[in-house]
Symmetry: C2
């Protein structure tokens, strides 16, 4: 209606939106929060989902001990207080990646229910999917790929979840994976199928 | 040579690499670290670059006070110690985004040289590009879009960079932008041209 007179204004300073980036990526952003005991299979499953989605040309990203504990959270230990802050930061980085339009998978023991619920509360409904990677302690201890359970039993690692520190299982996780009954490949395929069903990623 | 007998092994557990994701995005990952006084134009320029790259279908992401200070770094204040930790965390999140193949732009005052240099040291050569958004204090104070300089002069904001807290200009930034002489649009275009010259993004 009114003539535009300010010729020096050629754009507005709006942030690119999540929707803009989702359009570019060809799918929606979401966080899959994998929780479970050490050696339950969290990282293996997360990395396999990352592979499957990447092969389809999607943008998937795994946050795990390898890339977070040695970097962002290198100044945190394993005390209850530090575990809480560790999970809070992972959740906040997850929010940034979801905002960036990624399918983010986090693979952390995240033993405290309250910590996970606080992360959930930071997301819009549907953006946070809790995946309980459930394997009996005996099974995890038998796998013990890094010999951590053995060391924990010998008292060489203090505050080890399942041995000398608690694990609080999710009460209402969106998904439960039983890695004692189902192999990692099948679990990963199941997660991808759920992303398809929810319309997060297109069906292959 | 040897026949594969283990039919249950259908994949290996290798992380998807940065190169894999860069291929999907169609460009390389890099961090543009914008540093300068409050109101020097950091966020405006960063957001404009994000817009230009997104319009080209690229994956760009801005980390700034809006999405970091209220989230990941909400438990940090503005003391020298907290500023240092703030910048460290931003740098580490930047590393994750570069690993994810993004063109990441950070827009933080980041007043301490040592803090910025510590972040630089965490990146491979070429992945960290320091951009000094240089505008004289008088110009920034005159702009004062949020009235912060006024409050700082009145003593209502303690430890305000340029007024009651130091700003240590970069000694060897890769790029200097003079926002008193050049408008934000021109500065943004210049950054995009530099990304093209370096082969980070394809020429438009």
């Amino acid at each position: 209606m009114t003539q535009q007179k300010a010729t020096n204004i050629v754009w507005h300073a709006g942030h690119v939106t999540r929707a803009d980036r989702e359009k570019i990526h060809g799918h929606k952003g979401v966080l899959l929060w994998l929780t479970g005991l050490s050696a339950s299979g969290k990282s293996t499953i997360a990395i396999r989902v990352e592979q499957i989605l990447t092969e389809r040309g999607h943008f998937a990203y795994v946050l795990d001990g390898d890339n977070v504990r040695h970097g962002l959270n290198s100044n945190l230990g394993f005390s209850p207080e530090d575990r809480t802050e560790n999970i809070r930061r992972v959740g906040e980085v997850g929010r940034l990646f979801v905002d960036a339009g990624a399918v983010v998978l986090t693979a952390f023991i995240s033993p405290y229910r309250a910590d996970r619920d606080k992360v959930r509360a930071r997301f819009d409904a549907g953006d946070f999917i809790e995946v309980y990677v459930n394997a009996p302690l005996e099974v995890c201890e038998q796998r013990d790929p890094k010999g951590l359970y053995k060391k924990a039993r010998e008292g060489k690692i203090p505050e080890f979840t399942g041995i000398s520190a608690p694990y609080e299982a999710p009460e209402k996780p969106e998904i439960v994976l039983d890695t004692a009954a189902e192999d990692a490949e099948a679990c990963a395929r199941r997660l991808v199928a759920i992303l398809e069903e929810r319309g997060v990623v297109p069906r292959a």
